[in-house]
Subunit: 338 residues, 2 copies
Amino acid sequence: MGVVVNLEGGKRSAATMARLMELTKDDMARVNELILAKAGSDVELIPELARHLISSGGKRLRPMVTLAAAQMFGYAGEGHVKLATSVEFMHTATLLHDDVVDESDMRRGRKTARMIWGNQASVLVGDFLLGQAFRMMVDVGSLEALDILSTAASVIAEGEVMQLGVAKNLETTEDEYLAVIKAKTAALFSAAAEVGPVIAGATRGDRAALRSFGANLGLAFQLVDDALDYGGNTSELGKNIGDDFREGKVTLPVILSYRRGTQEERAFWKQAIEEGACDDAALERAIALMHRHGAIGDTIGRARHFGEIARDALAPLQDTPQKAAFFDVIDFCIGRVA
Amino acid sequence: MGVVVNLEGGKRSAATMARLMELTKDDMARVNELILAKAGSDVELIPELARHLISSGGKRLRPMVTLAAAQMFGYAGEGHVKLATSVEFMHTATLLHDDVVDESDMRRGRKTARMIWGNQASVLVGDFLLGQAFRMMVDVGSLEALDILSTAASVIAEGEVMQLGVAKNLETTEDEYLAVIKAKTAALFSAAAEVGPVIAGATRGDRAALRSFGANLGLAFQLVDDALDYGGNTSELGKNIGDDFREGKVTLPVILSYRRGTQEERAFWKQAIEEGACDDAALERAIALMHRHGAIGDTIGRARHFGEIARDALAPLQDTPQKAAFFDVIDFCIGRVA
């Protein structure tokens, strides 16, 4: 499972999540219990739908980041488990609403909740999970953590609305796209990392370091996801290649290919993304064009760039097992596609 | 504008919201400013859609309840304005998601946001407003108020999911229906009323009184709404008669008519509600059946019952202008249909 990644030409050791998983194993067991407990309801549909999401085999990277970030600064209480669970609920609520908004049929190789229980239940159970997330945060009682996570909730929604504007618009610049993923993906990673030092009572500098680490890890993560959708290892992600393409999503590989393309190629992209001519032959051509223009490689290059910023954010911190685990996670995120 | 209501046979004075509006006029001006400020975003679509909702002429009853409930116990700070705005945002977010879930075309006589900007924007702007609501609550800094409002957010969503199960199910009992509206409508009224005494540092008894007042006012309010949909004064509500009927909603007037009906009438209800045979002729027959079985009158009777409980909840409190205004509001809610 260990993937050896070449970063900036130098060899880095096994890029896996093993270290992070090991460090957070006990805490994650409690997160998983809490997820089940807080997704419970007398309204049958809620636990049923929640169970579908919970068993869908996500990596639970975000809550692990929260847990390790709290451990890193010697946090000894119970709050990090609740905050980590809140973070995962916020993420799950976003996925539920995303699938409705994107009209997605599949996620991680499985039918989406909306395909099984309908859009209505997906919207409402998402609202319920968000409510439960806030209740858990309130239970922890840190107004600073509440501030960070509630701000993230607003920013994420803002990012999703921004994405509606970008959708199927091939004139989107790389900068505009970055603004979208900063809001819709990086904000939650950033908040997940920052609340750790916050409840541990760490310094402002430590908080800023973790916040920056999280935000840049989130950007790297999203860009690698974008690249994977056009040729990553499907079996590992459980997501079909070409999902973004078929949904007409304008992601960085598309943006770069479009901007670097010939007149005739741009016409192809318009037909595919804007007019929905996105059958398998079109997908094949899209991937070929991406490789011709180095769009996949450069998307991964951008991800590496943010990965390096995430690494430097943590650099001045004391060497701890958590810091080493976070370095691994950066490499792992990028290694998924390398 | 003054409606004289007959409650339990005795005459009550002008049942209007005038007193409540007068008491909260200055605070509401600040709520309205805050609504505009917090619905702002660089993402164009958000303020545009928010403006549509804000100008839609809702009565803003919930925030007024929060403001007056804080005044009632001598609250002198700024927090009640923020909490009142949060309550209105939570309400607005629910409306946005509701209209998507119910596939509603019209609300208060105007096109719903989803008809103008689509379901996607409605889901996401709802999420944004909910996030902004939590940020404002966090800003106030009362963990107790946060607890009450975040719990309400979960309960409301739970109620909405519950309603999906009830939808188009004519076997729904009155008790089941009450459980739904307790969660989806009464919970927010209850929270809106309770956070007033909470930030004013009132006693547990005072908190309980306001909580109970709010919950029962909410139930009365919803039941009157249900009755109005089959014959209330359209021009005042701005809502077309028969909206619930055409959406196949199982509300109390339907539940009572169905349970009290003949075999043949039940077949009619099944066709109308479950199978969508709900044209104007069917609506006319539905209303006739409701009157034949006293279903409208008894729905209003149930509303009166909860109105009386709301009144008694406040009875032991010291006489204040706010208490008098709340009594008026109970009468006003029921007076809409009397």
